[in-house]
Symmetry: C2
Subunit: 246 residues, 2 copies
């Protein structure tokens, strides 16, 4: 769990254009670090991204705040990027097509690792202006409730980070997978055991033991049993057998 992982995307940057609130920048740094994204670019920030509040909200991602790249204007901030995704909540008719976060992440992944790509977010209250949007290769938006479409900045950044990480699983921890399913021999052995034991003790009808057994087949089949789970169920049958033998 504590092995060092490489950044999701060595040259992926999150660009915040004119962020107003230091606590938002701090929360963004935390979200970036959650997904191992290493570059934070600030364009004409309207706040001090090294303030105590920003540091507190970063919850330990101070390093990202400290190495944030600060630019006075968007043109110089974006000069080196080969793909720029502009996020927007304004999905008017001149913006089509607008890519979902998943589609945008796929587009960045398509560019290939190691080439600088930016996902750009506008000011908390207004988003990207029309002029700022013009630097985008593609436009992207999170499809939300049209009656309540204002998203928190750091939450939005987290969502794009999550979508990027799905393309670069090496950058995040892997979740424990399900154990391999038991094989048919194990399963049929278990069902024979169930039939024998439960019939012997009068739980299943000897003239039609498979009637109730079929429910158990459907239940266990749906869940997908591991070898260990098969052994646990057989253990319970063995317990019944022992109790019946006393």
């Amino acid at each position: 769990m504590s092995s060092r992982k490489p950044p999701v995307w060595p040259e992926l940057a999150i660009v915040l254009v004119e962020p107003k609130l230091d606590l938002n920048v701090g929360a963004v740094a935390r979200a970036l670090k959650n997904f191992n994204i290493g570059r934070l670019v600030l364009v004409a920030p309207g706040c001090d991204h090294l303030s105590d509040k920003a540091r507190a909200l970063s919850c330990g991602a101070d390093d990202l705040l400290e190495k944030a790249e600060v630019f006075a204007d968007l043109e110089s901030a974006l000069a080196g990027f080969r793909l720029v995704v502009g996020t927007t909540a304004r999905i008017g008719k001149y913006c089509s097509p607008v890519y979902t976060p998943a589609e945008s992440a796929a587009k960045i992944a398509e560019l290939g690792a190691g080439l600088p790509a930016a996902i750009m977010f506008g000011r908390e209250d207004f988003g990207l202006s029309r002029e700022q949007r013009r630097y985008s290769h593609i436009l992207s938006s999170i499809p939300v409730n049209p009656d309540f479409s204002s998203l928190n900045l750091a939450q939005s950044v987290l969502l794009y980070g999550y979508e990027m990480s799905r393309h670069f699983p090496a950058a995040v921890a892997s979740l424990p997978a399900a154990a391999a399913p038991a094989d048919q021999a194990e399963l049929q052995g278990m069902y024979s055991h169930l039939r024998q034991t439960l019939t012997r003790h009068g739980f299943l009808n000897p003239s039609n033991p498979d009637h109730l057994l079929e429910y158990l087949r459907r239940l266990f089949g749906r869940a997908g049993m591991s070898s260990r789970e098969v052994r646990i169920i057989r253990g319970i049958m063995s317990l019944i057998d022992r109790l019946g033998d006393r």
Copy 2:
């Protein structure tokens, strides 16, 4: 954009177990409303979810805070739910399998609309305890940087809301799709026009006009051109034609 949309999932609830900070509960309410999720359940909250801070952070989702369902214990809070997803950052060996947010959302969608499902989040600092986790049908986790795995509560809720909304697109605004691609007749008409005009004015080599033209075919083909875009390019060729005729 302002038509009323139905909640993402009439009976989907986000359950916060022992939330400590009112501002987190407020930020969660905002995230729920972003995805049209209508039910917020609070279990033994350690804060006042109707405080000024909570309301401020909800950014207008006060209604969700006001109708939050508050319970003293987890058992009564969860009694009516038919599927409970427990979120956890502790992905130890007894938790396997752990579902991703996407897999969890698919599992909830499989349950079917209208049946009560809950996604449960533990305390900000500790997450769900082992005892609290036992109420879960399935466990879920957001795969993150193993060296920086503590996620903000409202950000996590937003991510699950987003994954749910992908199964219930009717609950969120749809993004403007790309215009239909131009048909082959339009495209070949455009390429003929390009060949003719650009050869006539010496831009293409008359003995091999298709050499440079092939680059344009690859460029325009990769982007996928709409009928309107074909007309714009042809308009530029017509401009060249007119200027050449003067």
